[in-house]
Symmetry: C2
Subunit: 159 residues, 2 copies
DNA sequence: CCGCCTTCCTTGATCCAGTCAAATCAAGGG
DNA sequence: CCCTTGATTTGACTGGATCAAGGAAGGCGG
């Protein structure tokens, strides 16, 4: 990605208009690799105090449709969004606090991409989610680390 | 699994009481490998006309907790349940009709289980979902296969 | 620079999966 | 057989996400 490329450029390249809510959301996502809608709305309001949640939903939908963002949906948690698109990377998700980390699918060629028996399916994507505990939660303090706390301490969860 | 083992035995072995709703749900799941709650409720009513949806939720929760069933949650779709537990197999999901097929994780040892860089996470499970089109949907008639049609008309649900 | 048209955002309602809680009912040990 | 514990019923409710109507602003033509 050339340094001179701005978010506005990217939006236009995707055929999308450049608007304040969109730039705000992009800026938020640039700083938080895996944010949920609620987090994005809150953070975006710091840049554009009047954005509505629905606007964010709309923006995210447009960004995903335009190939500028990717939506990931860990089981049992609200959707998260990230700007890393194009490379088919996967995710590590903490069962305790919900923290998410990227993982390159470096496993050689494509073991993960080639199921042994496709049962007649034509596969176009392999989605891998590694479940476990992040470093902070292993130590015993669930989701209190900065990075982690960010994605909602919906963490240990509701109960 | 010994042939003589009944569902009732399994329930007791898991420390669960043997009740009509539970047996009904188990019987439904035995016939439909990947059913969603709605499908289960409908089918279970054929065996036990008065079961409530909440009862099914409760039963499924108990079955999952007792290790008799497994819950899978494809992104953007309601949860599905299956009785195959113990073997860590994965799933093929049809983008068009939602059909699900099992895939053994035959990729040798554990390429899928070992991310290249765990970023400090302790991983205990790798979940793999292969997205694509099932045979029926490739042909051009989305979701008309019996088993398949069941979980998915949510798409065109209204109007 | 102005105006128009399209697209986007705002407001508000609605949907759906799943959960919670109180009261009733039944499984199965004593 | 009764009692205790656990399961189910009924009903309300939450939270994430979508839909719909109207108003605002992006950005092109003139």
């Amino acid at each position: 990605m050339p340094m001179g490329t701005t978010w506005a450029d990217r939006l236009r390249a995707a055929g999308l208009r450049v608007t304040r809510p969109r730039l705000s959301v992009l800026q938020v996502l640039a700083g938080r690799p895996h944010a949920d809608v609620d987090t994005i709305v809150t953070a975006a309001r710091a840049l554009h105090p009047t954005v509505s949640p629905q606007a964010v939903y709309g923006v995210l939908k447009a960004l995903v449709a335009g190939g500028l963002a990717r939506r990931i949906e860990p089981a049992g948690a609200p959707a998260l969004f990230e700007l890393r698109v194009g490379d088919n990377h996967h995710h590590l998700v903490c069962r305790s606090c919900g923290a998410v980390a990227d993982v390159d699918c470096t496993v050689g060629a494509a073991p993960c991409l080639a199921p042994s028996d496709t049962a007649g399916f034509v596969v176009d994507e392999a989605e891998v989610v590694f479940w476990g505990l992040c470093r902070a939660c292993q130590v015993g303090t669930p989701g209190v680390t900065g990075q982690v706390a960010r994605h909602q301490d919906r963490g240990g969860a509701h109960a």
